[in-house]
Amino acid sequence: MSFLRKHITVLAGLLAYLVLYAIAAARYDGFLSLPVFINFLSNNAVLGIVAVGMTFVILSGGIDLSVGAVMSFSSVLIGVLIMDHQWNVYAAVGASLVCGTALGAAMGAIIHRTGIKPFIVTLAGMFFVRGLAFIIHLESIAIAAPQHTSIAIMRVGPLPVTAVLFLTFVAVAWYVAVLTPFGRNVYALGGGEEAAMLMGLPVQRTRIAVYAVSGFCASFAGAALTFYLSSGSHLEGVGMELDAIATVVIGGTLLAGGVGSVFGTLVGVLMLGLILTSITTYEGMMSSGLTRVAIGALLLSFVMLQKLLTRRIAGAGRAT
């Protein structure tokens, strides 16, 4: 009972996901198969990794609009380092992770030191990083290095490398969120910043770390993107911040902070992937406009279904 109550939103989300998946499977041939599901995982891995980082930020009561830009930046940087400077793939990825983490930490530090709202700092960060990415390379850049390609086509069992990375991120993030003091401090920070400070928790360190984590995840997603696309791309990151926020919130994490879970985010990512794929690819609507309307409608019905299930299972909670 207590387990059910505690994870109600995620469970409701999962249930709603299964319902929609069942409908899609009934509607489209070949939807209900392992390869299709694995495709979901790998196709949404990049967004998923970004969303994992975003989960921490939102749990802490903040928001990070720079993730898309950081991701693009990191992928372009990796491309430039490998193609123009003949770096080793691992070194290039490492360098981009360092850059991404540093950018995130810098934003966290600015937020903490100056008291400017995260929304603005990370919005400025988004502009800044996007500008930076254009400066290091104006175009998207194709990556064709044997070492890189060999990683890109690697598979673990039936899973492509990006899917593996995504699942690993979810697992590690779950561990960090639930079983480490840092994770709990993030929840506390989101539940009440002043209270957390008065309770003697390391508010400053936690906050800076949260944005650093988000920067790390975003730049890792950039690396995953290069494996997925074999290129460093400016374009893929545009608008990704909203997608990431949407998946996190769909997964039951409160935008106000303090409540939510990493598994919720996993459900959110799968959900968004399901909606987008089934509408744009399987349904194959001829009108771009109607496609968007359908995406929105499905998204909304998912959220409503999730709400309904939550209420049904939990019963009317204390209204206060």
């Binding site: 700092v121 960060g125 919130v249 409160l254 406009g289 968007r292």
Partner: protein, 326 residues
């Protein structure tokens, strides 16, 4: 205590002074064809949509919400008006009213879902962001709709008393909203709801209705902005109208000093913020700064202006000039 708009004004003034001195052609204002021309006029004319959005957004943010759908509402309202007036041969007033009606409807949907279904505002408006533009695209079958309807174009670039009509429209809306905020109980109620919705309910405020109205007002502003944007270029461009403008509007509101957590509305600040953004954009265009650098400059400037409004900046100023004191 300094006036709350002190620092935003200082920033804007600094920017203007810089441009008047260093940007060639910035200071020039001329009177031609019964109308004022010049960069200073352009700032307000081109900035009109964002200013309108900022006005509406101020209400929603003060209430503790956020509205991401404004850009899509712009596209939708422009498309509806253009469609009615071109393909369905309706008169201008009918087109305008219908467009605003559609905008209001979207606002009502936003408000209702936030209020009655208690879905988080960011999710609701993200959905309407996607659907709104989609609907506009579906209505126009992905086509741009061009028109030559002088009466309608007037909304975008007509002249009244030597000033562009959009500027006057923004002024009128701003005055109306500010009267609503400061001279009626609405402002008090909205700020109360943003500050503590639970307490607001226990004080007998009609929380649902107020929320609904705020989202509708915001959408109405967006609808007007959409009309201006379409009328200005004589074309309803569903794919691009208002694209990403929600971010500009939110930025304007925050630059103006309204806290994103709600509880306080600073309308004048938002207008200053919008003016600031537009001035910066025009300046960068006039000086021929390339996009890469534009992005970086924008980032740094926005951060600095926000920093000027924080207590930590205030402390620094006080330390630098102890004589000034309180």
């Amino acid at each position: 205590m300094r006036h709350r708009n002190f620092w935003p004004l200082v920033a804007l003034a600094a920017l203007l002074v810089f441009n008047l001195i260093f940007t060639t052609g910035f200071a020039r204002v001329e009177f031609r064809d019964g109308r004022l021309f010049g960069t200073l006029v352009d700032i307000f004319q081109n900035g009109a949509p964002v200013m309108l959005l900022a006005v509406g957004m101020t209400l929603v943010i003060a209430l503790g919400g956020i509205d991401l759908s404004v850009g899509s509402v712009m596209a939708l309202s422009g498309a509806v008006a253009a469609l009615l007036m071109t393909e369905h041969g309706q008169s201008v007033p009918v087109g305008v009213l219908a467009a605003l009606g559609v905008a209001l409807l979207v606002g009502a949907i936003n408000g209702a879902l936030v209020s009655y279904a208690s879905v988080q505002p960011i999710i609701v408006t993200l959905v309407t962001l996607v659907m709104g533009r989609g609907l506009a695209q579906a209505l126009t079958q992905d086509q741009k709709i061009r028109f030559e309807i002088p009466a309608f174009e007037f909304i975008g670039n007509g002249t009244v008393l030597g000033l562009p009509f959009p500027v006057l429209l923004v002024a009128a809306v701003a005055v109306a909203v500010s009267v609503l905020l400061r001279r009626t109980a609405t402002g008090l109620y909205i700020e109360a709801m943003g500050g503590n919705p639970q307490a607001a309910r226990l004080c007998g405020l009609r929380v649902h209705v107020i929320r609904l109205m705020a989202f509708m007002a915001c959408a109405l502003c967006a609808g007007l902005a959409g009309l201006i944007a379409a009328a200005d270029i004589k074309e309803a461009d569903v794919a691009n109208a208002g694209l990403y403008l929600e971010l500009d509007a939110i930025l304007a509101v925050v630059l103006g000093g309204t806290s994103l957590t709600g509880g306080r509305a600073n309308l004048v600040g938002s207008l200053i913020g919008a003016t600031f953004i537009q001035t910066l954009t025009i300046m960068l265009q006039m000086r021929g700064v390339i996009t890469e650098h534009t992005l970086i400059i924008k980032a740094i400037v926005a951060l600095s202006v926000c920093y000027m409004q924080t207590p930590s900046f205030e402390r620094m100023v006080r330390r630098l000039r102890p004589a000034e004191g309180a």
